[in-house]
Amino acid sequence: MSTIVSLPDQSTARVPKRNYLTNENGLLSWLLTGDHKRIAILYLISITFFFFIGGALAGVIRLELLTPQSDLMAADTYNKVFTMHGVVMIFLFLVPSVPATLGNFLIPIMIGAKDLAFPKINLLSWYLYLAGGAMTLAAMITGGVDTGWTFTTPMSTHFSNTNVITTGLAIFVAGFSSIFTGLNFIVTVHRMRAPGMTWFKLPLFVWAHYAASILMVLGTPVLAITLVLVVLERTIGIGVFDPTKGGDPILFQHLFWFYSHPAVYIMILPGMGVISEVISTFSRKRVFGYTAVAFSSVAIAVFGFFVWAHHMFIMGVSNYAVLVFSLLTMLVAVPSAIKIFNWAFTLYKGSITFETPMLYAFGFMGLFTIGGLTGVFLGTSGTDIHLTETYFIVAHFHFVMVGGMLMAFLSGIHFWWPKMTGRMYPEKISQLAAVVTFIGFNFTFFPQFLLGMLGMPRRYAAYPAEFQVLNVFSTAGASILGVGYLLPMIYLVWSLKYGAIAGANPWQATGLEWQIQSPPLTENFTTIPVVTQDVYDYEWLERQKEHEVTHVG
């Protein structure tokens, strides 16, 4: 099978001596850096750390669910484990995953800027993230928290005697990290574009991040104030959500989901951006219907703000409110469908190769399609009644978040790894990892759809024996999935030293980031580029190459 990978002659090629990694040395040069690329690397290391903590917790959950009884651990331990799994994975991994690593690294380069608009705030947001992470770890070590990541009142305010306050404040702090990242992206995209880089020449990766940033900036503050009120209710006993004092716990649900539903799009939109880049590159074609894909990101961001109450269909909100929110939920499903079909048709008449990032992207398309369509089951009010709060919803959001987002994240990491490090990873084993991940994922989470159909509730430490077979399947699948995640850890680290020299543009991709050296210089561009070519302009790239050949040759 042919490939488009073209590496420089390994006997003569060197990783450029001067690049952002070697520019300065010493720990302090990293801890005080303003360079968006170095901050991206710092993020990458820290979110990987938290991913494996969250992953270990997930492993423990699956082990406990191997048998119907709660025998591996007591029910309250189980409750703490799934709560910490949710908190770590959502707030410390999924929300910052693609934006804070790939977004941070690539957005300035893609738009032809030397850095993000506010480098110091960018660094600050990493420290805030670390502070939030440290507080979460502290809460975990000193006894954990058992409210579920949703912090439902009055459970979280009056009935739980675990570390709700520390965890709440941790999320508050981490939330500001996310606000600052989003703010930085929006300002950068508005004000820092290179000459000639018009809005419709922006890569779809940038569009997706722009849309996600709007959600971060407008949604996260609402979560922040909600958590402040929860903490105040727990400490001094104000009565905003307390039913015994006349407060309304449903108000908490509204405020919480006003952030936490858009948060789903904060997590998935950047992943969609990655997929657009990867599919275009490996089919050597402009993304089919670029404008539609760009605007569908914005549409998701806008509609995403008006569907939050679909998490509350069975909570006694008015039937007519349910009608409205169900309808809006159907509308938000459409832009995702548009994206899927546009990606599929990008392949049409392309010249397709199947390198690792592309395999992950195919995995994304399949799993996200399932995740999205099962979301429609839950957005339809009549069927939501039966399916919500069961393993169906667990399977649904894992298909979107793990099957979608994590696949996209791995796709993006593999795609831009040569750019970030200057080296290639071993292709065969990385393709294997992609396949193993896909198989393990389906084994883990598909049975959970069936469990949910049968009515098995989520967050159960013990369950009726009739559900055991499917749970065993799920746990077995999780062990395969675990291998799929460990493999990249190993060969990517290996490649840092032993990987082949990648050269500037191993994939023959069109983005500005591929036209500079790998790893890039600290200042990205020695002179700000003037953008004359279109976005995804493969013909321009060919002409460039011919030009070089005639000049050099």
Partner: protein, 250 residues
């Protein structure tokens, strides 16, 4: 293969130094730098609106539900102190605007004295807020275990309630005043927190201004702080009528 890459070889300091020293390396011009900073500040204020928005939503819902409790609760607030505080804040916004103008026109003394005036007015606001909080503390109007509904079930025992002509309230509705005070403290507390952060920044800015800072045209910080200060002022302009005024007359 590297040969067609655009920027593989260059000197980081190859560019000309014909720009002011405070131009950050990743901006092309000073205009771009200031525009970027002020755009960022406006966006940040937008997040602040969403932050307070959650509280305002809660306020609107509960006021609708527990209107009599909100009326009686607002009678416990001193319009005199509230109005005076409003005056202080509006004046401080004016002095802050004067400060920005002084910085723009490079008037050193003007800037320093404007900042001092803003600082004093801000601290004055917090001082009066403390007096108000203390009164609430003494009357057990702080939500929590010590909260007392005495002033509302038995208004004749309470000077403010008596003066406002409150009628005795059923215990159930009187208990809802705790929701009112919860929101009162959450909203004014969050506002006060913003004031404290503002005053801390103001002190730093004053320190720099006294030593001759902001006279070289690099006044983005002063301008953006001005925006922040006006925003905090505007939040109060909403809080004051909502908490103190609109429920006063049934």
């Amino acid at each position: 293969m590297d040969s067609h890459a655009v920027a593989t070889t260059a000197d980081a300091h190859g560019h000309e130094h014909d720009h002011p020293a405070y131009l950050r390396h990743h901006f092309v011009s000073y205009e771009q730098q200031t525009e970027t900073a002020s755009f960022g500040m406006w966006l940040f204020l937008l997040t602040e609106i969403m932050f307070f928005g959650g509280l305002f939503t809660a306020y609107l819902i509960y006021r609708n539900w527990y209107y009599p409790a909100f009326v009686a609760g607002s009678h416990q607030l001193s319009i005199t102190l509230g109005s005076f505080n409003t005056l202080l804040l509006i004046t401080s916004s004016f002095t802050m605007a004067m400060g920005v103008w002084s910085a723009e026109t490079k008037r050193h003394k003007g800037l320093v004295w404007s900042l001092i005036a803003t600082l004093i007015l801000g601290i004055g606001f917090l001082g009066i807020k403390t007096v108000e909080y203390k009164e609430k503390w003494e009357k057990h109007h702080i939500p929590g275990d010590t909260f007392s509904v005495q002033s509302f079930v038995n208004p004749s025992s309470d000077a403010e309630a008596k003066a406002a002509g409150d009628k005795p309230m059923g215990l159930d509705m009187a208990r809802k005043t705790e929701v009112y005070f919860s929101l009162y403290f959450a909203m004014t507390g969050m506002h006060a927190l913003h004031m404290i952060i503002g005053i801390a920044l103001l002190c730093g800015m004053l320190f720099k201004a006294v030593r001759g800072g902001y006279m070289d045209g690099n006044i983005a910080f002063v301008e953006n702080f001005g925006l922040y200060w006006h925003f905090v002022d505007i939040v109060w302009i909403f809080l004051f009528p909502l908490l103190y005024l609109i429920s006063r007359h049934q």
